[in-house]
């Protein structure tokens, strides 16, 4: 059991410890962290029909920090990320076991009784390939607000401008907000998708290899953007780039074959990993 950053004192003071079952908090929690928690994955397993893609994952997600999921292709990073917004519920035959507790609500969001749409209203997601809607730039960003019943034009216009500025896209698009989003470059489209995700103020932001379809310059812009956002949101990012994980994350989780091999602070994982498999992977001798 990796317990690199287990610190019983700070852990007890954490919001998680206060919010949850004291017997769990008293000692046996793996992967505890000293930061306030936004979510806590506890004993999560996941099946695509008969195939078990996640095996008993324990993973804390810190508030206002970036948590990176790394590991070889096919190890289950996307599968895990897509549990946080119940994306798997869109397809038949998928099954969760265990918990993802969202805090401070202290609610298990993978519970069958919880409406996945309610979960997605709280957790926004950005995908590997930019996927703007076939609408104008403005309407793309506004869509998350509109589907939440917000009608006031001034409110919508104000928020659209605000998040386009946050996403460092405003200056590039302010004169053509009513043009199709498909007229933008791939990197701009991805920043648009990030703005679209930010607009309704999600509690949790999920990024699935958001830069893997982009060139280095566009990638650098997105990373810069994530660095700006990370002080305000809880972010979980899947990445295949070790440099990216090292640059932007506060915590890092290394996965292998559906299991969480090691979790720790950025520093621990990248300078003194406990597990040999982690070390092999981050130094490129693996996978």
């Amino acid at each position: 059991m990796p317990e690199a950053i287990m610190n019983q004192e700070t852990y007890r003071q954490s919001e998680f410890a206060r919010a949850s079952d004291p017997s769990v908090a008293a000692g046996s929690r793996p992967n505890a962290i000293s930061d306030t928690l936004k979510a806590d994955v506890r004993g999560l397993s996941f099946w695509y029909d008969q195939f078990q893609a996640l095996k008993n994952i324990d993973l804390p997600i810190a508030e206002k920090k970036v948590t990176a999921l790394i590991g070889a292709s096919g190890c289950g990073k996307s599968t895990l990320l897509r549990c946080f917004n119940r994306m798997h519920d869109l397809y038949p035959g998928n099954r969760y076991d265990g918990e993802i507790v969202l805090l401070p609500e202290n609610q298990n969001i993978v519970d069958k009784g919880i409406d996945p749409i309610r979960v997605r209203l709280k957790a926004g997601m950005v995908f590997q390939k930019p996927n703007p809607f076939p609408k104008s730039i403005f309407e793309n960003v506004a869509s998350g607000l509109r589907v939440r019943g917000i009608r006031d034009r001034a409110v919508i216009a104000g928020r659209v401008e605000e998040v386009l500025r946050e996403a460092a896209l405003w200056d590039e698009v302010k004169d053509r907000l009513d043009q199709s989003a498909y007229a933008l470059s791939g990197g701009q489209q991805q920043r648009l998708c990030i703005a679209r995700t930010l607009a309704p103020e999600p509690e949790l932001i999920l990024l699935d290899e958001p830069t893997s379809a982009l060139d280095p310059i566009a990638t650098a812009k997105i990373e810069e953007l994530i660095e700006k956002l990370r002080d305000h949101y809880a972010i979980v990012i899947v990445t295949h780039s070790m440099q990216q994980a090292a640059r932007i994350s506060a915590y890092c989780a290394f996965m292998h074959l559906g299991q969480l091999v090691e979790f720790g602070t950025n520093e621990t994982i990248f300078t003194s990993p406990k597990e040999k498999r982690t070390q092999d992977y981050i130094t490129g001798r693996f996978g």
């Binding site: 926004g124 996927n131 998350g144």
Partner: protein
Amino acid sequence: MLPAVAQESKFRPTETYLARRRIIARLMSFLLFMAAAASVLVTTGIVYVLVSESWNFFRQVSLLEFLTDTQWTPVFAEPRFGILPLLTATLWAAGIALLIGIPLGTALAIYLSEYAPSKVREIVKPLLELIEAVPTVVFGYFALLFLTPLFRMFIPGLTGFNLLVPGIVLGIMILPYVVSVSEDAMRAVPSSLREGAYALGMTRIQTSVRVIIPAAFSGITAAYVLGMSRAVGETMVLAIAAGQNPNLTGDPREGAATITAYIVQMAMGDLPQGSLAYESIFAVGLALFVLTLFFNLVGFFLRRRFREVY
């Protein structure tokens, strides 16, 4: 093992093979060109016949009279050739058909594409296609002998021959076209867009209306245009259930001959070739052609205007 010199590789194609490949490529492009040319030729041939036969007609009846006269009485002693009665009947029937077929077809397409489990889809789609398999003459008599008497119990003023009932039946008949083409277009929308919509917290209906339909817009338009052309060109149901009497009317409860109904009626009689009534068949045929062409062009420009590249 790497070859010592690249030229010696045994994987280099032989000259005879390359020559044969070149000949086959030329032959194929020639055959494909011929196929394309044949279809163009047939189309121009049809248009040529329509136009040249109508030419004789329009030398005797002015275009203005044809388009504005309110009477269509080609076999009277004093014949009148105003297409308006036939045209309004055609548009009434097609309009009613679209009023039924488009909302119902779109709703069904959304259901099949976005809601239905695959089992349900596999049952409903073939059932819908069965509608296409029913001979139109059966639909015609179904409208005339079953539905019209039934509707007459509820709708006062509905006559034995009328535009309303065959219009509704026509709406059902175009359903398979509207559904299958627009459902294909919706299902072709990349799942990344669908996932993007759900990830924003959209419900199914929000996803369908706000993302899937705009993304599938060009295919859906194609479906509507296809349904429209089919409704405008449909003959049997209208000839049977809407009557054969040219009647300029604003009331679909009355019967009225459509363009197509007039064409079959005349074509089945033995009109002397060269007579004005005979040539009027081609004139109204040309009008029908222009009408469908117009709707197809509208569809084409709509599609181009809203075409989306994912």
